[in-house]
């Protein structure tokens, strides 16, 4: 009990003396970063997990690209399951002169089987739980579509051939809840109206779903039955496998944010280690006296460990409270992107962040504090007796062990942790090496400079260790922010620039065979474009050289996906201009009755297709088998319509086909699109520019959340900067006094401080610019395959921002030396 009292007393005393403030600040920051990200990801993932049934709007969903067969419906009925069908597809919604691409869902009575559909009768009006689905001839839409089309309840919305009356506004839709990124607004219609719209014809791109509900056993039995029958090509979604792609995306986001936080925690750890080194040095005398008075080594260790633990717990709590506020900020950054309100925060992320804070403080400070037990009581007589400082090897190992312990906690994935961990260490080592080089160069440069610069640069070089820490701490944060701001927009622009002028900006899909000739003429006349229409047939590759295709045979994720999904087959009589044959030859001029395929090289590689291989496709229940006659390369950047696999003319005759085309339409002719929808109601228009804009907007919001996290990194960098300044506090005081006694005025001392921090900031900024440039080159070259363009702004903004930050903080942290009385030089014998 007495030890605890002593620890509290010591804590109070040291706090008043200002010895612990930086450790406290670093702890608060680390825990705030950990808890805000932890709370945020927890809320998002709970939003998805907690309502898995609701996400499906059913207990089991069978999904197909073909209409749900009556046979399947009857079997579901026989199993005693509740059932309802829905069909989802994209189509243009038209109101007056306004057009908008919408996600249409046709539903029938009973929808949703699980969860609630909520609507209101006016924009932002009171919500009501829907007990029915839209009546015949009416649509329910979400607020986004109303705004886009500028319509109100009672107005007319045209979908395909039918004019619908807008009846209600959708405020909440269960099976949309998990979609973090909603690309197009929602339109709900009655399934009975679907045929009349003429929007769905054989071959149209649509998702047909059968929603099922019932007792767990009945559902499981039915699922088994369907799974056994693979020929149907049904995608089965149960509660457990609801939205796997979303979960994966979320997991990645969680890991990425978690690991970004680790960078901030590592920097806070560095600050804690530095501050506790000073704390230890300043407690040698106290410990010597305590030992002299009979305190055991155990007492000393216990006293300081306990003091640190209490400090860690108190300030971790404060950090968690700030983190709670921080996560509200994070959530608001994503506003409008999440389709539903997030559940309230839970306590676990807060507790785990507090625990992590305590671990961090202990791991980074104890190796230093441990030296205090070695202080000899003889020091009271001989002040030069000091224990050997903590071996840097031990401090370093303890830091690594602490981070290694905290990292998997954040990422929850060992392999990723190791990659990230060593990547981080590597980056830090590279930055440190760069910093050291910069510091050496500075040391050389000082010979030719005046007194202020010489003294400032000499200080940078003399305190090389803390200079490296400062450069590292600030450089890391600024690198990350440069990447997120400049490099991100650079990459996007560089991609857009690559598109030649006149690159198609509109796609028309779902063109019905009967409309082909008329549409071709219409486009020639109205859009002044001589664009070609290409047929396409939805098909699934079932066999390769007679062997049934098994997704499990492929390790690559893309190949797995290609092996399971349907894709579009086309036919063509001639090779497209942006294609080139790289193996084999085009079809024979005279048809020889055989079926041939032309395969795009990348998909050929992924799926292991070679020249003369025999491919079997399943199209609407029929099997088509043919030989690979050539492999071709495709220039995808042209934005022309292109196909992975094409067949020779005649090979796909009699199969349900729709046509597709792309063309460039200058914005002043945009109104022509309304006539396209009027004359060819089943055609869907895809506006590429709008899609790019949506993707850009989403990227922006997501990167703002990441910027938020890297904001913590930058703050942590500042704390490190302060910690290093604090460690040099006594030295600086004495030196300033000596300089003053030699006749230096305040101005001269201020100039030398400015020179020191300018140099440090410049080195950090140049390294940050170098780091961001290197990473953007790597991204352009190896990830996005884009031409790399050097951004001069990086080299201006990087050094400028770092210099300002380091200069500002540095001067603020050392300005006290300007007021040191020169007598200190005499007193400090």
């Amino acid at each position: 009990m007495s030890l605890i009292n002593a620890a509290f007393t010591a804590l109070k005393r040291d706090w008043r003396a200002g010895e612990l403030r930086l450790i406290a600040l670093a702890t608060v920051l680390a825990v705030a970063a950990l808890s805000s990200v932890g709370l945020f990801t927890d809320r998002v993932s709970r939003a998805i997990e907690a309502q898995a049934t609701e996400l499906l709007a059913a207990d089991l969903v069978l999904e197909s690209t073909n209409p749900i067969t009556d046979d399947l419906l009857q079997r579901a009925q026989a199993s005693g399951l509740d059932r309802t069908r829905s069909v989802s597809f994209r189509s243009m919604a038209l109101a007056g002169e306004r057009l908008e691409l919408a996600e249409v869902k046709a539903v029938e009575a009973g929808y949703p089987l699980r969860g609630q559909l909520r609507t209101s009768s006016e924009l932002f009006g009171a919500e009501q739980v829907a007990t029915t689905v839209p009546g015949r001839g009416t649509v329910w839409v979400d607020a986004r579509l109303m705004q886009a089309l500028d319509i109100n309840v009672g107005d007319t919305v045209k979908l395909g051939d039918i004019d619908f009356r807008l009846a209600r506004i959708i405020t909440y839709e269960p099976d949309r809840g998990g979609e973090l990124f909603n690309i197009a607004p929602r339109v709900l219609i009655n399934l009975a109206d679907l045929n009349a719209t003429g929007l769905i014809a054989p071959g149209s791109r649509a998702e047909f779903r059968l929603l099922l509900g019932g007792a767990t056993e009945a559902i499981a039995a039915f699922r088994e039955q369907v799974e056994a029958d693979k020929s149907r090509g049904l995608k089965i979604q149960g509660i457990r496998d609801a939205r796997p792609e979303l979960r994966r995306a979320l997991e990645r986001a969680e890991q990425f944010l978690g690991l970004s936080v680790i960078v901030a925690v590592a920097l806070c750890g560095l600050a804690i280690a530095m501050a506790s080194r000073r704390f230890t040095l300043r407690h040698y005398d106290t410990c010597a006296m305590l030992r002299c008075l009979g305190a055991s080594q155990r007492h000393i260790t216990g006293l300081f460990t306990l003091q640190m633990l209490v400090l860690a717990a108190l300030f971790s709590g404060l950090g968690a409270a700030l983190g709670f506020l921080g996560q509200t900020g994070l959530t608001s950054l994503l506003q409008g992107m999440t389709a539903r309100a997030l559940p309230v925060p839970s306590a676990w992320p807060l507790l785990s962040a507090i625990l992590a804070g305590i671990v961090a403080v202990t791991g980074f400070s104890l190796p230093q504090l441990w030296r205090l037990r070695e202080v000899s009581p003889l020091r009271v007589l001989r002040r030069d007796l000091a224990p050997a400082p903590a071996a840097s090897r031990i401090v370093f190992m303890a830091a690594i062990a602490t981070l290694a312990f905290l990292t998997p906690w954040q990422s929850g994935n060992l392999k990723l942790t190791l990659y990230m961990f060593f990547g981080l260490l590597g980056t830090a080592a590279a930055l440190a090496a760069g910093a050291l080089t910069g510091i050496r160069v500075c040391a050389r440069l000082r010979a030719g400079t005046g007194i202020a610069w010489r003294y400032g640069l000499a200080n940078v070089a003399r305190r090389a260790e803390s200079s490296v820490a400062q450069v590292l701490a600030i450089g890391l944060g600024v690198t990350a922010l440069l990447l997120l701001t400049l490099v991100r927009s650079d990459l996007l622009e560089s991609w857009q620039d690559r598109l030649a002028p006149g690159t198609p900006n509109y796609f028309l899909i779902n063109i019905q065979p009967d409309d082909v000739a008329a549409l071709e003429g219409f486009l020639r006349e109205r859009a002044a474009t001589n664009t070609e229409l290409y047929p396409m047939v939805r098909a699934r590759l079932t066999q390769l050289n007679g062997r049934t295709l098994n997704p499990d045979d492929y390790t690559d994720a893309r190949a797995k996906r290609l092996a399971t999904r349907e894709f579009n087959l086309s036919w063509a009589s001639r090779l497209q201009d942006d294609n080139a044959i790289i193996a084999g030859s085009w079809w024979p001029k005279e048809p020889d009755g055989a079926t041939y395929f032309s395969v795009e090289e990348e998909i050929g590689k992924d799926l292991g297709m070679a020249l003369n291989d025999r491919l079997t496709y399943s199209v609407a229940g029929r099997e088509i088998t043919g030989t690979v006659r050539n492999i071709r390369s495709v220039d995808w950047d042209t934005f022309n319509v292109n196909f992975f696999v094409s067949a020779n003319p005649g090979a796909l005759d009699g199969l349900p086909a729709t046509w597709i085309t792309s063309f460039y339409l200058p914005s002043e002719r945009r109104s022509m699109l309304i006539d396209v929808v009027r004359n060819f109601p089943s055609v869907t228009i895809i506006d590429v520019a709008a899609l790019i804009e949506q993707v850009r907007a989403i990227m922006e919001q997501v990167s703002r959340t990441v910027e938020f996290v890297f904001g913590f990194t930058l703050l942590a960098g500042l704390v490190v900067l302060f910690a290093t300044l604090q460690n040099t506090h006594d030295e600086r005081r004495l030196e300033a006094a000596v300089l003053r006694s030699l006749g230096a005025g305040r101005g001269a001392i201020l100039k030398s401080l400015a020179a020191e921090f300018l140099a440090l900031g410049l080195i950090a900024g140049l390294l940050a610019a170098l780091g961001a440039t290197t990473i953007s080159w790597l991204l352009a070259r190896f990830v996005f395959d884009l031409p790399f363009a050097l951004n001069g702004l990086l080299w201006l903004l990087g050094p400028l921002s770092c210099t300002l930050v380091v200069l500002g903080t540095g001067i603020a942290g050392t300005r006290h030396v300007l007021h040191v009385p020169p007598m200190v030089a005499l007193r400090n014998a």
């Binding site: 300089l739 006694s741 030699l742 006749g743 230096a744 005025g745 020169p822 030089a825 014998a829």
Partner: protein, 233 residues
């Protein structure tokens, strides 16, 4: 107050008091002192007698609570800290007990400091010359940590004489050195002082060192208690 010709330091009714938990503490009181240019004066006294405080006041490192100090013709009381620093630059040299070399600068750069602060040109050349005078031409580019205590104090002496100052203040210059090295340093200090014809004000507790000076003032409990003069060779 007009300074008499040839007077470099004049102190009148100098007093220094500091606040302490037990009330006001008087460190110095009623100090009157005139030092002529070229004189060498030792201030001797036991620990806590106020020697270093007096030195600081005479050099303008600190301000008195009462009385006034004139240094090199300037009334220090009327100047702010930067003004006093400007008076010191180029005119005043210091030798400290713990050398007080700047650890980040080489021996040469340390000696260049006062030259540059006084705006004297060719600082590097002059500094190298001063280091040669103290026998350290081979150590120009060494850092303080690479030098012995005696060598560090030689650098400090070279720095003190760098600007050919009118007056040199030395605070226990041998306090951190062994006896033999201390004797060499004292010998060097006085030789240079003679060569440069500078005024020397030296604080020490060692009567043997004080014997080198033309005048010796004894300080006890913040007041002068004795003065001795001797003819120097």
């Amino acid at each position: 107050m007009n300074d008499a010709p040839g007077v470099i330091v004049q102190a009148r009714q100098l007093g220094k008091q500091v606040a302490s938990p037990g009330g006001t503490l008087t460190i110095l009181a009623d100090i009157d002192l005139t030092i002529a240019a070229g004189e060498s004066v030792a201030i001797i006294g036991v620990s806590g007698s106020g020697k270093s405080t007096l030195l600081g006041l005479l050099a303008g490192l600190d301000l008195p609570t009462s009385g006034e100090v004139h240094l090199a013709g300037a009334a220090l009381n009327s100047l702010d800290e930067d003004g006093r620093a400007a008076i010191r630059a180029g005119r005043v040299g210091f030798v400290f007990q713990s050398f007080q070399l700047l650890p980040g600068l080489t021996a040469l750069e340390n000696v260049m400091l006062p030259l540059e602060l006084a705006g004297i040109e060719k600082a590097a050349e002059l500094a190298a010359g001063r280091l040669a005078e103290v026998g350290l031409s081979e150590r120009l580019h060494h850092y303080p940590r690479q030098l012995s205590g005696g060598e560090q104090q030689r650098v400090a002496i070279a720095r003190a004489f760098a600007c050919r100052p009118q007056i040199l203040f030395a605070d226990e210059p041998t306090g951190n050195l062994d006896q033999q090295t201390g004797a060499q340093i004292i010998e060097l200090l006085f030789r240079l002082n003679r060569e440069h014809a500078a005024t020397l004000v030296l604080v020490t507790h060692d009567p043997a060192i004080a014997d080198h000076c033309g005048r010796c003032l004894t300080l006890a409990a913040g007041r002068f208690t004795g003065e001795a003069r001797r003819e120097l060779d």
